[in-house]
Symmetry: C2
Subunit: 1001 residues, 2 copies
């Protein structure tokens, strides 16, 4: 079936038919009238109240009456019946699984509809990803997965021209920037701050041009529109089987004839809506969550609406209604040739009313958020290794890498990574990631085998200091793979059961190591099944780019045996040579940090907010709305969790303060690795007790002497830094109703404060909510457990449990104190090391001896590529087609960050990879669906930016356009913040698989 | 539109295409397998929780997700896609309004589907009528309306071959008899007593031949099947948008694959079901209430079910599933050539469990039941007069008579006349009847105008002794129309405000009259707005058949002034010459009745049952299930409502006892009209107080010296009499769990008990529940008000209110005490006078004088027909087509009832009507949709009856077959209980309307 679909699609593309999709096929509207674009649409969450598969099939109707298979079945049927009708489809994860189940006739029908532009893909990602909690790497992957699937099968008419983020709970600048570079002509969303929306409606500034990159200029601009009614139809005009609005009853023979009332109402609403917009075109989103299961119901009533509204024209009414799509609406706006207002900040956080700031979800389900980030890391490893070793080059999809692509695509959904799904759905998301990780680990194993390694074991529970192979093996080899395009020397921590180990590096040299006892809080974690009592810590020095090293580890004690961390009572100061941490003897907290020239008082502690909500589920007034999966609604100031004890562990490699607190469900290890420029804070929170019926949201707060006033900085999806000001928004006067929640912003990778002398940067291992509520202060929310649903739809309190108790979460912050001038190069580098961390794998080696280890026949290391310059990141290396590579190179500095590293940089792809000889490249759009040369976005005039030079087209753009032709075809110039995407032909020492035969049927 | 549809249908019939509907096109099944007929169906209540129009459009989804327009839209679409698929549709009220809204293409599509037998009409009445509370006259009308609509537009393929009563709450013998005579080949129903069903399942006697007429023999036989699961699909296999069962998930790439489990379950269920049936064919009803709004959902999953179940055949499984219809299933049963068991009683009352006897609905909403019966009466009047006067002969429907046909069709629905609908729906039903009555009154006015009368006023509130025209006019004429085919002399009661009147009959002769004061209980009725203080009573003597007389009434006192009823304190006995009523001075109740030879102690009183149920809506156990709209569940014995006072009113024409009771919401007038053989008991009950939180069900109980033992008799839909035995069922041993409710039976027109010497018969003016709970006893339930929903779906307690208080209901019983041998001729005659009562209308006549009244120019009377023999009833006289009449003649006696009147009788149609000269007739089936000669029902062998002669084909059948050919073509022989239906050509003095031109488009 699968092959047949592929072959048919290929045949369809091979024999080009007249494509009649495109802007020029859009309904024109009437010049002297208010043109109302009805956009029939369905919003199909890729998991929320039900799992993605339950939604697809329409199972578990008792939870929600929602079945995507029926939506597509029934919409196609309606489209076929009437050429006036149009429909958009958004979530490729659903579309594609449906498409694969169709018979040839339906496939041909769908191809025709797409080709005619009547079934139009919008958005087109595998899911409609969240924006607050996602990392740009994962967004690019999931958008590419969806858009490539569409383009590969439908060709140009399958390209989504409009980005469609109608439901995500706030919008980031980097997301807009990425959409621009994926070739979208426009971007519509549904949710923005209630007050911002009010102002924009009054000022007719609902539509604007988002100048989404300070660095890229026009390349990062995108026309952006906020929808009038989120994504719902006008009140009273919801005609789905899931709606309760009255149908249009137009038979005068029957009772309840309501045409006049319906038409009056619709016209009045249209005119009211039009007041908030600049042109004589408005768009009405005719659909809602999982609508159109019975598409005939919607269309039948819209047919009547169109008929009876337009019938008023003969009486002089100037309203004209017709079926349309977002892209056709966009086209109408473009035709208006207006000069549009601009926006340069972002739409975070989202508040739906003065007491509903959706900043809870920045942290909801922190374990899931951590696992998703970790899975992104592994997916990159998996793609790199299978590409380098050419082990997953089948013509058939899905292959073992695809499963993880799919799982990651689904997990970027705005009810997945956000933590706003029901618990059983969260379980399903995690299970998908887990199973897909297994699958990709199989592929990695094949790749490593081809590289000469034995079969590897992956330890998936290192987050609880558990690894059965290392605990139970006598001797073993640990392999450390570096997915970065430069050399790194990470610290490795391996759970072990013994009390002394020796480690040999690939050269057979002994490696210094330290045995660090596993904290009691970890040892007693519920459900933990492990004999490990310590972590064996060592530095994997100089790991080659895209390469690995093996370390032979034996329990045999000897000269080079591991040192054991030493308890040093009373020691109030730890230093690793670069960083010195002093305790405050009064509070036992961290009190002072010295690093290079920086020397500041820093006080760090855990605190907790009491959230509104009542475990009895009692009623509430809006200001006391329960804190929950979506919103953060604390009752007041955070309360301190006092430190109870501190143990100081000393050693040559790693030194630690181990804190316990008067609430015994919180603990922390503050750690200095030898010579590293940061302190690692490993926090563990949970089970948060809620037996008292009180919701608790736990933060780590740093209070410092830094004079940051009201300003702090958070990253935008791990890339651009956003300047934030407390109690302030750039584009409207903030009414401070929620002094805490309203100042929370998403932190995907880092948050910092600074003054002229010092900068305190905290890097995170997952997305969290963060803020600075006072000058010198910086806080991150770590974990939350609530007692009541916050009434935004999920229908459950956020109450994660495992083994019968509240979920325990363990994570890391890297705390960097530095001169502000040095900070960017530190945090850009460290953030990459965080999200592209080395991958550990293991092989038992009971028969191995040091002598054998020294043999040349034992593969102990591998180098995948020449190192790239320090400011270049190899964002993507993966198979594109069975005989093409996909390569993305990224300049990871902003233009003003570093005098050296912010400069443009050249990379030559020739001879870059050791197993892949790139012979030619073609540049593609960011989503890798089509060549860059085929992307011609609509141009939008806008008012002059306050921040950017007039007509700034971006450093990247300028350089590329001016010098591209003269370049060596394999030399790529990267400007600040630029990502360039290439599809490459290559040669490799590994043979191509045989293409499948054409199906005979 | 309407004309176009008609013309198109006519054209379709005119150009006959190959009809491929029919039994021989049914799927054959496999001989060695269990053949499972999947019957996709929807059960569309013509009003229940929502009004009929709300159901049609799918309005008020918050009450129920149900929209018939979408069902038909979506089913047609699915049928078109796949020739294997079949669907049945039942309720013509819905189908027809949908059909009228379709465009030409859809109409053509539907015609094709019907012609191919893939859209099959089943049942086919305007609604799926109730059986317990309906009168046969209304059933015949509503079935004819539906079936004629289908036949006229679709021809032979539109004929429903199977009667389909899957939801009504019990089944009557007369209904089965009527179905047989409408030409149905079989009859399926869903609900029968739980214990009866259990026995039948064990004995494989779910299917049988119902010998439904003692008098008609084979003509009244019908193959009857009880469905296995009412009308629901097998548990777990409900695939509608309104269901929560899991879909069939057959994509192994996704989670939750469940094909094996689904198929195992379906096969197991099929085999279990098959054990209760005799052949290797079983039927599965794949649908439920208002299913198939999104037909694709159902069909998609059934396609998979069929595919995966039948795939098991290759592994040896002997189960074969396919799409089918009830008629195809019936065909399979017929092909089995078995000798089937028989049934000769009926399926009343229905008990769904030992503590849920659905005998409450026999009485629920007594005002509505009364109004429906009254509307039936008026519809017959309206049809007769418009036919006789040829005033409603348009080619376009609906005409003014049709509206009342439709309203009556809808009101026969099993949630309408039953009283089991929500209150707002009950209001809608009544409003429909009221509006349609207005419409038909308009038509009657035209007819009477053509007969020479002035414009008439109809007094629609005579039930509360209100008539504005007679109260407020000085002088007026009262016209009394007799819809019976024989002369009658009814007693007329006219509300008046004055204290003395003279009445002149058409000959100008003074008519004796009596002024009867309106009881105080009536005068103080809430909402009553009238100046009438008395009713003017007189006898309209010798009203001609289908004729009227006018009575000129003046308030002028004079010689012939009306007598006023005289209060006679202490009078303990009243007599009208035929009947003598003695009071029991102890109890003040009626104590003794003498009539002819009969002389019996009879004690009559009101009583009330306390029903289970708690106004707080608290939970209950099954035995304490609340009494409600469906079920009657009393806590124990009825409690007496003691008589408080009695007033005796004497007069020459009418004598009355007027009782009040210690519960002041009950009152009664017991009345003897001069020379009549019955006593009229006019009861008034309400507002029943439920402020005490206690449900109350009020009865009138007669206790007599008649030695009736355990036997009593109730009518079946107003025709055949059913012998009932207390605590007994004919076909199984009754487990007496509910000694009261389980002995209640529907009484549509009469109930009696008797011994060798005396018979006590009570005739009712509406359907009621009745019983005999002890020898000599007889009771009828009059009114009920409950406090809790009985949890069978309606979701409301039965709690009728008006003007802020409980509804007051007033009705009449005619009590006849006689020699048993005389009883049939009395109750047959009186029952007809009750349900075909004279119609009063009025004209103010202020300028009229006695002299003018004597003028020949003033039309004062009219005779429509020659009188028919005393045992013949003109059941129907109406327009059939613009140039044809529909005539039904009925022999209203059973064979053994009367030595003379039970004999066959001839009627000659020639010169029968005064304005309609019948020239030729063709005999049709009872539902008047097609000629009798075209009806060839399937023959079913059955075991010999205990009661009927072997191979008895019915007296009617024998006579008709043997002598029909020799008859004068216009002479009709009627045998006992026979109804014969004729379509007649005729001539009349009134010209034909011009047929409409063929539409040009």
């Amino acid at each position: 079936m699968w092959l047949r679909v592929l072959a048919m699609a290929a045949a369809a593309l091979a024999a080009p038919r007249e494509q009649i999709c495109g802007y020029d096929k859009c309904p024109a509207g009437k010049q002297d009238m208010l043109n109302v674009h009805l956009v029939p649409h369905t919003h199909d969450d890729v998991g929320w109240l039900k799992t993605v598969d339950q939604y697809f099939y329409g199972a578990k109707s008792e939870i929600q009456r929602a079945g995507v298979q029926y939506i597509l079945d029934s919409v196609i049927q309606e489209l076929v019946k009437d050429p006036e009708k149009r429909f958009i489809y958004v979530e490729t994860a659903f579309f594609w699984r449906w498409y694969l189940q169709q018979d040839e006739q339906t496939i041909a029908t769908v191809e025709n509809l797409v080709n005619e532009g009547r079934l139009e893909f919008i958005g087109g990602g595998w899911s409609m990803n969240d924006e607050a909690c996602v990392h740009y790497n994962a967004v690019i992957d999931q958008m590419s997965l969806g858009m490539r699937t569409l383009f590969d099968h439908f060709g140009p008419c399958g390209i989504p021209r409009v980005a469609w983020q109608i439901d995500p709970f706030g919008h980031t600048k980097e997301q807009a920037n990425m959409f621009a570079q994926m070739g979208f002509d426009g971007y519509f969303f549904g949710r923005l701050d209630y007050d911002d929306k009010k102002r924009r409606m009054n000022a007719s500034e609902m539509e604007m041009v988002w100048l989404a990159s300070q660095d890229l200029g026009e390349t990062g601009e995108i026309f952006t529109g906020a929808l009038y009614n989120i994504y719902a139809p006008p009140p009273g005009h919801c005609y789905d089987v899931n709606c309760n609005d009255q149908p249009i009853m137009d038979d005068k023979r029957l009772k309840d004839y309501n045409v006049d009332e319906k038409v009056d109402d619709f016209i009045a609403y249209s005119k009211k809506q039009a007041k908030s917009f600049k042109t004589n075109h408005i768009v009405m989103t005719m659909g809602e969550d999982f609508h159109y299961q019975d598409a005939g119901m919607w269309f039948k009533n819209m047919d009547k609406l169109i008929k009876y509204v337009n019938a008023r024209q003969s009486g002089g009414e100037k309203v004209n209604v017709f079926y349309s799509t977002p892209s056709c609406y966009l086209k109408s706006l473009h035709d208006a040739k207006l000069v549009w207002p601009t926006v340069e900040d972002d739409f975070m956080p989202y508040a739906s009313d003065p007491w509903a700031y959706w900043s809870g979800y920045f942290t909801s389900r922190p374990a899931q958020k951590g696992y998703i980030r970790k899975s992104n890391n592994f997916l990159q490893v998996c793609k790199q290794l299978t590409a380098m070793m050419q082990t997953e080059r089948t013509y058939e999809t899905p292959n073992r890498v695809d499963y993880l692509r799919y799982a990651m695509g689904v997990n970027q959904h705005h009810d997945a990574v956000t933590g706003t799904e029901k618990q059983h759905v969260a379980n399903d998301y995690i299970q998908r990631l887990s199973e897909a990780t297994d699958s990709c680990q199989g592929a990695v194993n094949d790749a490593l085998t081809r590289a000469g390694l034995p079969v590897q074991t992956f330890c998936n529970h290192l987050n609880t200091s558990v690894c059965h192979v290392t605990e139970q093996s006598g001797k073993f080899v640990a392999y450390v793979y570096n997915p970065l395009s430069r050399s790194v020397s990470p610290w490795v921590r391996i759970p072990v059961a013994g009390d002394a180990y020796t480690i040999l590096d690939p050269e057979g040299q002994a490696v210094a190591s330290q045995l660090s006892p596993i904290p009691a809080e970890v040892l007693s974690l519920p459900g933990r099944n492990s004999s490990a009592v310590a972590e064996l810590v060592f530095q994997a020095s100089d790991l080659p780019p895209l390469g690995f090293k093996g370390y032979f580890i034996q329990p045999a004690p000897g000269a080079a045996t591991s040192q054991v961390s030493t308890e040093r009572p009373g020691l109030q100061s730890l230093s690793n040579g670069h960083v010195t941490l002093d305790l405050d003897p009064e509070t036992l907290r961290l009190g002072r940090v010295r690093a290079g020239k920086a020397d500041i008082q820093i006080n760090q502690t855990f605190m907790w907010y009491e959230g509104y909500g009542n475990a009895s589920g009692s009623k509430w007034e809006r200001p006391q709305r329960p804190t929950g999966a979506y919103i953060f609604n604390p009752k007041g100031e955070a309360q301190v969790i006092e430190a109870k004890s501190v143990v100081t562990l000393d050693g040559a490699l790693v030194k630690e303060y181990r804190h316990t607190f008067d609430m015994d469900w919180v603990s922390q290890v503050t750690r200095l690795y030898k010579d590293e420029p940061f302190a690692e804070v490993e926090w563990m929170v949970g089970p948060i007790p809620t037996e008292d019926g009180v919701a608790k949201e736990v933060i780590s707060r740093f209070s410092s002497a830094i004079n940051s006033t009201d300003t702090f900085y958070t990253d935008s999806n791990g890339r651009q830094m956003m300047k934030r000001r407390r109690n302030h928004r750039d584009t409207w006067t903030l009414n401070v109703t929620e002094p805490v929640a309203g100042n929370y912003f998403p932190v995907n990778s880092r948050i910092f404060i600074k003054d002229a002398d010092s900068q305190l940067t905290v890097l995170t291992d997952r997305s969290q909510g963060g803020s600075s509520l006072a000058s010198g202060q910086l806080e991150l929310m770590l974990h939350r457990r609530t007692v009541q649903d916050d009434a935004f739809g999920v229908g459950e309190p956020l109450n994660e449990t495992e083994f019968g108790v509240g979920l325990v979460v363990r994570g890391r912050h890297w705390v960097v104190v530095s001169d502000p001038a040095d900070a960017p190069k530190l945090h850009r580098d460290l953030a990459e090391q965080m999200f592209m961390a080395p991958q550990l794998s293991f092989a038992a080696a009971d028969f191995m001896t040091p002598e054998m280890w020294s043999s040349a026949k034992v593969i102990k290391q591998f180098t995948g590529m020449q190192p790239l310059p320090a400011n270049v990141h190899l964002l993507t290396l993966e198979m594109y087609k069975p005989n093409q590579l996909l390569i993305r190179l990224e300049h990871q500095f902003q233009a003003d960050e570093d005098p050296t590293l912010s400069k443009p940089v050249d990379v030559n792809l020739k001879d870059l990879f050791t197993t892949l000889n790139v012979t030619s490249v073609e540049e593609f759009g960011l989503s890798a669906d089509r060549p860059l040369k085929d992307i011609n976005r609509l141009h939008w005039d806008h008012v002059q930016s306050n921040r950017l030079p007039k007509n700034f087209r971006g450093a990247a753009h300028e350089v590329y356009r001016s010098t591209g032709a003269e370049h060596d075809p394999l030399t790529v110039t990267l400007n600040p913040m630029e990502i360039r995407t290439f599809v490459a032909s290559y040669q490799s020492p590994y043979p191509l698989p045989t293409p499948p035969a054409q199906p005979t049927e």
